[in-house]
Amino acid sequence: MAQAVHEATGPPAGAPVDLPRPPASIVPLRGLPFAIAVIGGMVAAIATNAEWALDFYHVVGGGLWTAIDLFVGLVVGPIIGSMSIPARIEFSTRFMPKMALIMPTLVTMTLGAGWQLARHLGNLAPGSVNHGWLVASYIIVGVMTVIALGVLEPANITVLFELRKPRPNPAVIEKLMKRFIYTAGITGAMQIATLVIMTRIATQ
């Protein structure tokens, strides 16, 4: 299907396609101060054990993480899959550097604040009514960690390096981008399970 779209809309074979070059830096440097400020706020929240701040960081970070994962995996991903290869590359050039900064920041604030909040509320104790649900959430985070660090992040960084070459290889980019499509279902299921677990914990 994607190939058919490519053949219908893409340039003739062998014809060079002009695309914007990715920035010189893999990570968008202008966004770094915002990420540092967010992480700094989380460290302050943990150091002071301020319940509202921990709750804020965990809920806001988790909400954005889940929403972005589901939106990208289930809405944006299939749209990218139906684009021509040059269009996919152009989209990736603009999209991936931002994701390389946004997602680790959201994951750090969600997990860091979440662990401290659970400790503060006594949910880590084996006798807690929420302990079983917390262990289930550890397993979900573990699965997502392996997918993110073992599959998606290497693909993301490799695509960004490939795009910086004088003649990027579209087949390399397409092959690596398929990882996002293959893992979207798993990540989506994990995120929905997270929503169920977190709403259970909040109402027990």
Binding site: L19, L124, V135, G150
Partner: protein, 153 residues
């Protein structure tokens, strides 16, 4: 602006295009796969410790997982060191920066464990797991980038 060829790329020697997967073309060892297996062992050990940390359960299962992860990591580095026609320069550049990032992350986690009062054998096993984590993830990232790079990069 950069020009991207829209034709199907071929293997080396077939007309000057880059290979689709340089790793497959050069028969590199399965470093990424083994590194992900190492990560799985560390994550499972971490989940076990996090779940049982306050229950005073035995750390033996976590030690077994940590030892298995260390052995797997050592085998991985031994196999990688014998790789030929590999983009070592790119591997070192990516590896150095990602190692720095993950050492900082592991250091922050170590501080949190100590701050939260984790002590004794549990802290020792967690520290070992963090050390493997801080080496293993940069290995996955650097190898994946280098396998798609030209040897001269």
């Amino acid at each position: 602006m950069t020009a991207i060829e829209s034709s199907t790329p071929t293997l080396p020697g077939d007309g000057g295009h880059q290979p689709v997967d340089a790793g497959e073309a050069r028969r590199l060892p399965p470093v990424a796969e083994l590194a992900v297996a190492t990560l799985v062992l560390i994550v499972v050990g971490g989940i076990y410790l996090a779940a049982e940390m306050q229950a005073g359960a035995s750390v033996t299962p976590a030690v077994v997982l940590l030892v298995a992860a260390v052995v797997l990591l050592a085998i991985n580095f031994a196999m990688l060191s014998r790789a030929q026609q590999f983009a070592w320069r790119r591997f070192r550049v990516v590896g150095r920066w990602t190692l720095l990032a993950y050492v900082v992350i592991a250091g922050m986690l170590e501080y949190v464990f100590i701050y939260d009062g984790v002590r004794g054998s549990t802290l020792a096993v967690l520290s070992g797991m963090l050390a493997v984590f801080a080496i293993d993830v940069p290995l996955i990232l650097a190898f994946t980038v280098a396998r798609f790079a030209n040897e001269r990069e």
